[in-house]
């Protein structure tokens, strides 16, 4: 669209970040074109459309999209916009339908997007309508272990290349079991925050002992979780890694303990330990010994707006974000485990989650600061751990030396610049896949 504006918003040598990217409408408009119009966007999960003709209503950035499973079982992501005048052809959140009829003039589409019927095609249009070219606008769709991604960009690389070595880490949660995962939800709510602040917070372990102190105390007292302190976080063996815009935090531990998930408490710990022990042979076969036994994915984000598992930060203008919170469960886990995770997940995250509420007010203020006439002249300071990250012999990506670091945040805004300054996908750098993916798990699950 004409001249590409050149963005230089993060100073690599100092970590200074220009606040105006959180509030300027022109920047936001560019983001919708150059990031949300190009990137592979997480839009849902195969388990939301399990049967033939199922559909689930979702979004790619601001655009309403219908995720469908057609009569042959194939997935489609269709722009929810009648090609005639633009009315939405689906008005509900999910369902099962072979066709979608526009309620304005009755144009009717098949669930693979093809325009099937136009009232008065012979009489009113004199059979001159080019019906085959007027199907619903379709995005490219690919899946990773059941998670559905879509992109508007015809020139985008494969999803496998896009995720790259980040999948080496992501597999440890999303590709653990032969039976795959199932999604519950989503819970949806709006917050007056810029979408990027939520995403960059996914690698921010610095805020945890301060922002979440009261929630952590509740967990210590009532759930028997170890107390949380800055000292523990600084000394933590956990690490950060960054690949292709995706931010990973992970734990390297060989203690044969179940990975921490929502719902682990004094009462349920034995249940989770038994589940961990019972499934370890399967997980080891799927992921290899190193990833099965040692590497545990922590907080993470998938560029641009996938946050903490299957959760979405959907932009709704520069100063507003719609949160979509799904709960992902191992499909073959015992019902007691599923129940504990479902309840625990909502106690911590989601609209009424303790941790979510701790976070959101900070983010509101950060967003508000970017609208301050005088405040926004002064950059954010993302200088933590500058020069203390690099390649690692065992772990893919650019790996920080410590768990507490702003390396991932600096790289996230660098990635943002790369998308914003590129004329096409050919100009967006992509790290080649270098990892060995031990075990049987693949992109398909």
């Amino acid at each position: 669209m004409g001249i590409t504006r050149k963005y230089a918003v993060i100073e690599p040598a100092t970590g200074k970040l220009d606040r105006r990217i959180f509030s300027e409408p022109a920047v936001y408009d560019d983001e919708m074109e150059k990031i949300f119009g190009r990137a592979w966007l997480m839009i849902g999960h195969e388990s939301l459309v399990p049967a033939i003709d199922d559909f689930f209503h979702t979004y790619m950035g601001e655009d309403p999209v219908i995720l469908t499973r057609d009569g042959h079982g194939r997935l489609h992501a269709l722009l929810n916009m009648c090609r005639h005048r633009g009315n939405r052809v689906v008005r509900c959140d999910d369902g099962n339908a072979k066709r979608f009829m526009c309620t304005y003039h009755g144009w009717t589409y098949r669930n693979d997007g093809a325009l099937d019927h136009v009232p008065g095609e012979a009489q009113a249009y004199y059979d001159a309508l080019d019906r085959p070219s007027l199907g619903l606008i379709e995005a490219r769709v690919e899946t990773y272990a059941g998670i559905v991604f879509a992109t508007w960009a015809k020139d985008a690389p494969s999803l496998e290349a896009y995720l790259g070595d980040a999948r080496w880490y992501l597999d440890t949660v999303f590709n653990r079991r032969d039976g795959g995962m199932q999604a519950l939800g989503p819970m949806k709510w709006l917050e007056p925050v810029n979408w990027k602040t939520l995403v960059d917070n996914c690698s921010d372990n610095y805020h945890v002992p301060t922002s979440h102190l009261s929630s952590a105390r509740v967990q210590t007292r009532w759930l028997g979780r170890p107390p949380l302190s800055h000292e523990d976080q600084f000394a933590s063996p956990n690490q950060h890694a960054f690949v292709n815009g995706h931010s990973i935090t992970f734990r390297d531990a060989d203690d044969n303990a179940p990975r921490y998930v929502h719902g682990v408490s004094k009462e349920t710990f034995r249940l989770f330990q038994e589940y961990h022990d019972a499934t370890m042979p399967e997980v080891e076969r799927r992921l290899g010994t190193l990833r099965a036994r040692r590497v545990q994915l922590g907080n993470h984000s998938i560029f641009p707006n996938g946050i903490l598992g299957l959760r979405l930060a959907l932009p709704r203008g520069p100063l507003k974000t719609e949160f979509w919170h799904f709960v992902l469960l191992d499909r073959d886990a015992p019902e007691e485990i599923k129940r504990a995770i479902r309840i625990g997940s909502q106690a911590n995250n989601g609209a009424a989650g303790m941790f979510e509420q701790d976070d959101v007010d900070n983010w509101r203020q950060v967003t508000l600061a970017s609208t301050s006439r005088f405040g926004r002249r002064h950059p954010q300071n993302l200088s933590m751990g500058l020069g203390h990250a690099g390649p690692h012999p065992d772990y893919p990506g650019l790996v920080s030396e410590r768990y507490i670091s702003e390396n991932n945040q600096r790289l996230f805004y660098r990635r943002w610049e790369e998308f914003m300054n590129a004329e096409s996908w050919a100009q967006i750098p992509l790290d080649p896949i270098k990892s060995t993916f031990e075990g049987t798990a693949t992109m398909r699950g």
Partner: protein, 75 residues
């Protein structure tokens, strides 16, 4: 308030027109309960508020979902 006692007190009352049915007495008791609960929250007396809960409480807030006409949400 004790429902049974309230009902008995109402039943003993001289004016038959003021007698409460069991259902009315229960309704009054519920209203008293909600008023007290709201007051405890307004006054930030959270420990006393927590004492109102039984151990087997199920706190359920349904997720809002837009459904086709005639279809009811399952969740």
């Amino acid at each position: 308030m004790n429902t049974k006692r309230a009902h008995e007190a109402a039943a003993r009352s001289a004016e038959p027109t003021t007698a409460l049915t069991l259902q009315q007495a229960l309704w009054l008791e519920l209203m008293q309960f909600y008023i007290r609960e709201a007051w405890l929250l307004d006054e930030r007396k959270f420990k006393e508020w927590l004492d109102l809960f039984t151990d087997d409480v199920l706190y359920f807030m349904p997720r809002r979902k837009t459904c086709r006409a005639g279809k009811r949400s399952a969740s």
